[in-house]
């Protein structure tokens, strides 16, 4: 038996700040269609904002000719959101913990914490065709 096609949504956006709102709205709409309740949408939206912010600023350095690609896939019991940039990536293991005493007064460095808080699983991968993909999973 051939497998049923998985439902997916893909957004392709220029690397600029306005794309953060676009991506947040696009993924929130898709998550609503997949049946997520309103109070889960808030966290999904925030995680997507943080991931797209990182793709625009750190991955693609606001080069508007380079796309940020956002994917939403319905994997039955969970939704998988991916955000791909065209950057060199980074080592998530060596990112400073923003909640440790010496970092509390820093003005940045809390995005990944929010992604991890509001999604059930967050991981980074190299894309085979180049760039970095953050893959975030949220259970229904």
């Amino acid at each position: 038996m051939k497998p049923v096609t998985e439902e997916t949504v893909e957004l392709k956006l220029p690397s600029r700040l306005a794309s953060i709102d676009e991506a947040a709205a696009g993924v929130t709409d898709a998550a609503r269609r997949l049946g997520f309740p309103d109070d889960a949408l808030y966290g999904v939206e925030l995680a997507v904002r943080e991931a797209v912010t990182n793709a625009v600023l750190h991955g693609n350095r606001r080069d508007e000719s380079v796309p940020v690609e956002v994917g939403v896939a319905d994997a039955g019991s969970e939704m998988v959101v991916t955000v791909r940039d065209r950057g060199e990536g980074f080592d998530p293991g060596s990112v400073a913990d923003p909640t440790s005493e010496e970092n509390l007064l820093k003005s940045s460095g809390r995005g990944i914490l929010f992604m991890r808080t509001f999604m059930d699983d967050v991981r980074w991968e190299r894309h085979p065709a180049g760039g970095t993909v953050v893959r975030m999973t949220k259970k229904k």
Binding site: L17, I20, Y42, L46, R49, E50, T53, P98, T99, L104, L105, K106, S107, S108, G109, R110, G111, L113, F114, T117
Partner: protein
């Protein structure tokens, strides 16, 4: 409509900023930064941020609240928070910033605390 609207009121020597909208990367964070910078320049160093109308904050917005706090403190001033929504309260808990900020949920007590 601007992302973040900020109105300024004076209560004795305390300046209250009533904020409405979103503190997110870009416009919202930039407006807040500008407002704090201006108050400091004017010598207004007792600042109360009323966040009751702020429905959305991202990590950049939280970072901007922290910067507002450190900038004010470094000039010998005080910056406190009033009327957090549940969502902002949660984000401050997650980031362990509830211990850093002085947070109030009624204006009178907040104003009193500056004495």
């Amino acid at each position: 409509m601007a992302e973040l609207n900020i109105r300024e009121r004076q209560a004795g020597d305390v300046t209250i900023l009533d904020m409405d909208g979103k503190i997110t990367i870009g416009e919202g964070s930039v407006s807040l930064r500008g407002a704090i910078r201006r108050l400091i320049e004017e010598g207004k160093k007792k600042i109360l941020l009323n966040l009751s109308g702020v429905g959305y904050v991202d990590s950049s917005g939280i970072g901007e609240l922290v910067s507002s706090y450190t900038t004010t403190s470094s000039k010998g001033g005080q910056l406190k928070l009033l009327n957090l929504t549940q969502k902002i309260q949660d984000l401050l808990a997650i980031t362990k910033l509830l211990t850093v900020f002085d947070v109030y949920d009624d204006e009178a007590s907040a104003l009193n605390s500056f004495k």
